[in-house]
């Protein structure tokens, strides 16, 4: 490595990214106010919610290297927690929504720990089956809990109604930013490196003194908590909750987004969540053929890019800026490789 290589200091990096996020927000909110129809705004919000879901599942799938199939279950926990809190809380709108979302995330995180402790003793198929079972338990519990306890709170299959519709573009965007930032920060920290080490070789990681169980459960709970956040946003977006929304297929849908984007790539998850949410809507004019287009994209992707859109590549603005500063951007290959390894 060249010692004279110019680098950016951390505060500069954060500042640069913060400015870009604010600019993106201003651009998008200008668009929502002036250029996009109500319908396109709605789609944009579902894109945001799906980004949070995909990015959060990416923690467990891409970074931790497990295959959980119960993500919709965590989403349901967050959705119902947030919905019930906002519905009955006497607090002012904004406060109650913020607390509801936080509660939803915390509750889902707790369930993440609860299920993570037994589940993460297993790997691969076994873990997939166990988490799948967990997702179903959540759904069926929500369906029947009112009958068992004898009061009307969750409304089961009748549907939980009158949830205040607090979600709008600004707060969905804010949640997306918070989610991406926290997950990014976590993955760049000591904890994140421990998680990656476990993914790459669990035995080697353990022999280096990493507490594998602790870190696995932590990553899993982290992933669950953000799914809960997305659930909360969803509840206050749609206004009506029914346990059947959070079935097995919802988990698969999220997993498809992560796999398509590239496991372990946050930008990949964001891109594929965006594409897979917009694609079925943009192809409405094709009637029933649109589902074929959706499936065709999946098939082609898996044949030609089995690692996903971006593989495990992650975008870093600072890295590009540093390259520009060092005049490395266009002489390729070697510098590129080193940069990637360095990161």
């Amino acid at each position: 490595m060249n010692k004279n290589r110019k680098t950016l200091k951390m505060p500069v990096r954060y500042l640069m990214n913060a400015v870009l996020v604010v600019l993106l927000f201003l651009a998008l909110s200008y668009m929502t106010g002036n250029m996009l129809s109500t319908y396109q705004n709605k789609v944009l919000m579902t894109v945001g919610i799906n980004i949070i879901l995909a990015v959060s599942l990416n923690v467990a799938t891409g970074y931790l290297g497990q295959l959980p199939l119960g993500h919709a279950g965590f989403m349901a926990v967050g959705a119902y927690t947030c919905a019930l809190f906002t519905k009955y809380s006497p607090l002012p709108d904004g406060v109650s929504f913020a607390i509801g979302l936080a509660l939803g995330a915390v509750m889902a995180g707790l369930f993440g720990v609860l299920i993570g402790v037994p589940a993460l003793r297993l790997t691969g198929d076994y873990l997939a089956i166990l988490t799948l079972g967990f997702g179903e338990i959540i759904r069926i519990t929500l369906n029947n809990i009112d009958d068992v306890l004898g009061y009307s709170l969750f409304y089961g299959s009748k549907g939980l109604k009158n949830i205040p519709k607090y979600s709008n573009f600004a707060n969905v965007f804010l949640c997306v930013v918070i989610t991406c930032f926290l997950i990014h920060a976590m993955m760049k920290s000591r904890h994140g490196r421990a998680v990656l080490a476990i993914r790459d070789n669990e035995i080697a990681a353990e022999s280096c003194g990493i507490q594998t169980t602790y870190y696995k459960v932590m990553a899993f709970a982290f992933s669950a908590a953000f799914a809960g956040l997305a659930g909360g946003l969803y509840a206050c977006y749609i206004g009506v909750l029914n346990p059947s929304t959070f079935g097995f297929m919802k988990s698969i849908e999220i997993l498809v987004m992560v796999v398509l984007g590239g496991m372990g790539s946050m930008l990949g998850s964001i891109l594929s969540a965006t594409v897979l949410t917009i694609l079925p809507e943009a192809t409405r004019s094709f009637d029933s053929y649109r589902m074929v287009i959706y499936s065709l994209v999946l098939v082609l992707m898996m044949i030609f890019r089995p690692g996903g859109l971006l593989g495990s590549y992650d975008f870093s603005m600072s890295r590009i800026v540093e390259k520009v500063m060092n005049g490395e951007l266009f002489h390729k290959k070697n510098a590129d490789k080193e940069g990637a390894d360095h990161e």
Binding site: T38, G159, R284, F304
Partner: protein, 406 residues
């Protein structure tokens, strides 16, 4: 290696190009659709337009598409007939159709999409959960909305807050209504005093019918000897049926959908439970699933009895080249009739399409109107549910036959 274009890379490139082509095509067409919609929407608002835009939505694909297609076909059929007869006061109806795949999120997207395209009234949605999501959304626009088939009480009336969803009507009778009607029929007409119930747990429709049947039957003075339930995906009902057999009922109320009813009837026969069964409109289509013997003396209620309106059935066949698939088509037809009834009143009043006054006029007209539908002539009660008679059907030689209107 470096300069070789492998077959794999070539294919990959071809795939990417094809996908890009498809995507640009989609992008292009959707944006033109959007811009034409925006343009026509603004002209409609500006010059009150030459067409009236009516939205029709339902699950046209996905696992409840059998209901969605039936409703959408039925509704479209009526709207086309109106157009063929000169439209509403000379204005043609433009039909906007969207597929929501039985999903609440997509239903809301479809709804707002059609609103953006200048919809003046909506026929839909079909199943309960997406309908509830659309109801919550439509209140913001005060959009007149008639659902053909969503039977849950909460669609038109919110019991939690004791408010009626002012802009929502339905053409079908409700779950509670069916349960109550069948209890009345069993006790008063058929003279049963001891009944058992078997229903699917965790499903709004089945629970709604069962609960109201039980309450009504007991308040009439009958006895419910046993209530059994099963879960989604169960195929073996013998345990429940044997328990019911032990309690010795005179009839069993089985408010479930026809595939399961078929299995329940055959298994009941095999455990020796031979009392007549009763059911709700989910029995529609049962004839292929049970033997003539098993269907003997069974009764169920329905909105529409096959054969009671030859004109509709012939028109359906002429339009789509097949028999109408199930009871959802006549309901879609009547929902369309209800919407057109409201639109007619608003047009007669000379209001401008799409304005708040126009929507309110449509809603007011429907709320106070009398609709001469093919599932009976009906008015709307204070909960915006139709007040109409129920067709009670029974099976003769394995075919459903209208027993009487009740």
């Amino acid at each position: 290696m470096k300069n070789m274009i492998s077959r794999r890379n070539f294919l990959a490139a071809a795939g990417v190009v094809a996908a890009a082509g498809v995507l640009t095509a989609c992008g292009g067409s959707s944006s033109t659709a959007a811009s034409t919609a925006a343009a026509s929407g603004s002209t409609a608002a500006a010059a009150s337009g030459d067409t009236i835009k009516v939205g029709v939505m339902g699950p046209l694909s996905g696992n409840v598409s059998v209901y969605g297609q039936a409703v959408v076909n039925g509704a479209t059929l009526y709207l086309k007939q109106v157009n063929a007869n000169g439209g509403i006061n000379g204005k043609q109806i433009e039909i906007l159709t969207e597929d929501e795949q039985g999903d609440a999120t997509q239903a809301v997207n479809c709804f707002t999409k059609m609103v953006d395209e200048g919809m003046t009234a909506l026929i839909g949605d079909v199943t309960t959960t997406p309908t509830l999501a659309v109801v919550a959304e439509s209140a913001d626009y005060n959009m007149p909305m008639v659902t053909a088939s969503a039977t849950a009480e909460a669609v038109t009336y919110d019991a939690e807050t004791d408010t009626v969803n002012a802009n929502v009507f339905r053409a079908t009778f409700t779950d509670p209504f069916q349960g109550i009607k069948m209890a009345d029929y069993a006790y008063q007409k058929l003279g049963y005093t001891k009944a058992a119930v078997i229903f699917k747990k965790g499903a709004d429709y089945n629970e709604g019918l069962a609960e109201n049947f039980v309450n009504e039957f007991e308040s009439l003075g009958g006895t419910i000897v046993d209530q059994e339930s099963y879960s989604e995906g169960d195929v073996d009902f013998k345990t429940q049926l044997t328990t019911i057999l032990g309690k010795d009922p005179e009839t069993v109320f089985c408010p479930n959908y026809y595939e399961e009813v078929g299995q329940i009837l055959s298994q009941a026969e095999s455990v020796g439970l031979t009392v007549p069964f009763l059911g709700g409109d989910g029995w529609d289509g049962l004839e292929g699933y049970a033997t003539n013997d098993q269907l003997k003396d069974t009764y169920f209620c329905a909105n529409y009895a096959k054969g009671s309106n030859a004109e509709f059935e012939d028109a359906y066949k002429a339009e789509y080249g097949e028999e109408y698939p199930n009871g959802f088509s006549p309901l879609g037809y009547d929902a369309a009739k209800t919407v057109v009834y409201g639109l007619q009143a608003a047009e007669d009043a000379g209001l401008e399409a799409g304005t708040d006054d126009y929507k309110q006029a449509v809603i007011d007209a429907i709320a106070s109107g009398t609709i001469d539908g093919i599932t009976g002539t009906f008015t709307f009660d204070e909960h915006h549910d139709p007040v109409k008679q129920t067709a009670i059907l029974t099976y003769v030689d394995g075919k459903p036959v209208l027993k009487e209107m009740f």
